[in-house]
């Protein structure tokens, strides 16, 4: 069977379509529901903090899920699973963007000067912001056409997702008041995933030699 045919069968696989729809629902509905709760003041004493944290942790969950999917699809040799990776990856950027928009609009009430000052002066915010810029770059080049046009440089750029993960986890850990916090558990999960993907990482690092 020619490759193009295989592609088409996979693309139009009804189970895949159903699974993708399910993923969209699982990623999109909580984001909307939590915003609604915040708007009607049903999100605890501080709806702003609750919303910002929810979107931030949502981005971390999606990012970890993306890497797990990528690992599993290779291990299990199921290309179907791989076809969900881009969708999940886009939701990482979606949640991270909501996280930043809420920080800007609700936490800082659109005081741009103060926000820019915070991004520059607070290392944990600087790191988070750089991670977001990476995610934006990956989102803008996530389309098939961009992938084809960029060739080898595409995977070079998209390997920055590992750097983004490291920056996000550091941002998460650093944002907590106590040095003994939940972000440590996420850091372990992130480190484990990076270890399992070490061959990709090493290949990527070789490009800079």
């Amino acid at each position: 069977m020619p490759d193009v045919m295989v592609q088409r069968i996979i693309q139009n696989h009804p189970q895949l379509m159903g699974f993708k729809a399910l993923l969209h629902g699982a990623c999109l509905l909580p984001a909307l529901w939590i915003f609604y709760l915040g708007a009607i003041d049903s999100l605890g004493a501080d709806p702003v903090k609750a919303l910002i944290h929810f979107y931030g942790i949502g981005a971390v969950h999606c990012l970890l899920a993306t890497l797990v999917v990528s690992l599993l699809s290779k291990k299990l040799r199921t290309p179907l699973l791989m076809r969900c990776r881009r969708l999940l990856g886009l939701y990482v950027a979606f949640y991270a963007t909501l996280h930043i928009v809420c920080f800007l609009v609700f936490e800082w009430q659109l005081q741009w000067a103060e926000v820019i000052d915070e991004i520059i002066r607070r290392p944990y915010i600087t790191f988070g912001f750089i991670a977001w810029l990476i995610l934006v770059a990956l989102t803008l080049t996530s389309f098939k056409r961009a992938q084809r046009a960029m060739g080898a440089r595409w995977s070079q750029l998209h390997s920055l997702v590992y750097l983004s993960l490291a920056l996000i986890l550091l941002h998460f850990y650093w944002s907590q008041k106590s040095p003994w916090n939940q972000a440590i558990a996420y850091a372990f999960a992130g480190a484990a995933l990076l270890y399992l993907k070490r061959s990709n990482l090493l290949n990527w690092l070789k490009l800079f030699k």
Binding site: F35, D46, F106, D117, W180
Partner: protein
């Protein structure tokens, strides 16, 4: 579980004109009924009782009661701000005893009932500024710490006052492991200079919103120091010690580069990781009703407390 309301000692029955009860007033009932002994149902499961006290005339807009009692940094009951209201409802606050020791003439153990007999209660509407750059306006009920401490007759050696929170891992899940309690080496300890402790703004609170403290807010007795970051206002106190040396304090021990002994509110001195220049007010309303305000030096109490620090050379804003 039957519990005697701690508010009804004879010493507190005073002039009706001066001592009003906000709750009863709002209900439009006669002031006398404020002295009756029925327990009032609270929003939370834990029992709280109405108190009798002199009202504060401050007109600061208050943080809604439901938010004050459901958003708490009380790591003994979990590190999430929503944990304490869930985990503290069966916290036993009766019987309760405070041990007084150190550089004072009259030391010993005193029951909460004793302590409540010593001073009339008054309301103090204070802004509580958390080091995390948010604030709440809370109507506390209590008495000046100075009035309590004077009874113990501190000696000339008493340069500091050290406070300790109850240590009871059975009741306080956060104390059972480093992970559950944010890495704090329990019991939680705090301290003030004797001058800070004796300042008339420094309050021993036993209630808020006209009722006894809910457990998640530090029942049955806690400190409130309005010109300092919130972590100085230690909760559920079981020990007071007069010391000559500066006592160790929990957060400055956990992260010495981020939290100091004094921790006075100052918009110009940033936390190493975030700005303290302004704060978000926890008020009523959802996402679109949020307000930010510029943080004030000494949290707005500079006029009253700045003189405490005129002779202190070290950085007292840390």
């Amino acid at each position: 579980m039957k519990q005697r309301p701690p508010s009804l000692s004879e010493a507190q029955v005073t002039d009706e004109q001066l001592y009003l009860n906000r709750r009863q007033l709002m209900k439009g009932a006669a002031a006398l009924t404020a002295l009756s002994a029925f327990p009032a149902p609270a929003q939370a499961a834990a029992k709280v009782y109405p108190l009798t006290y002199r009202k504060d005339s401050s007109d600061l807009p208050l943080t809604p009661e439901q938010k004050v009692i459901s958003y708490n940094n009380f790591y003994e009951f979990g590190t999430d701000k929503g944990d304490p209201i869930k985990n503290a409802q069966h916290f036993k606050t009766s019987p309760w005893q405070v041990t007084v020791s150190g550089e004072a003439e009259k030391t010993g153990a005193f029951t909460l009932e004793d302590i409540l007999k010593w001073n009339p209660l008054e309301e103090r509407i204070y802004r509580l500024r958390c080091v995390e750059a948010w604030s709440m306006v809370i109507p506390w009920v209590g008495f000046p710490l100075a009035d309590m401490l004077k009874r113990f007759q501190p000696t000339s050696k008493a340069k500091y006052v050290a406070f300790e929170t109850l240590f009871d891992p059975e009741q306080m899940p956060g104390q059972r492991s480093r992970w559950g309690g944010g890495g704090i080496n329990y019991p939680y300890v705090e301290g003030l200079t004797i001058a800070e402790a004796m300042h008339p703004l420094t309050l021993m609170a036993v209630g808020l919103y006209g009722k006894t403290l809910p457990p998640q807010n530090g029942a049955p007795i806690r400190l409130v120091v309005p010109w300092k970051y919130g972590f100085k206002s230690i909760k559920s106190i079981v020990s007071i010690t007069f010391t000559e040396q500066r006592p160790r304090t929990t957060w400055s021990e956990l992260a010495p580069n981020e939290y100091g002994f004094f921790a006075n509110v100052n918009p110009k001195v940033a936390h190493p990781r975030w700005s303290q220049a302004s704060e978000r007010i926890i008020g009523s309303g959802g996402l679109f009703a949020q307000k930010r305000r510029d943080t004030e030096l000494y949290n707005g109490y500079a006029e009253q407390v700045a003189s405490l620090y005129s002779n202190i050379k070290e950085n007292h804003f840390f």
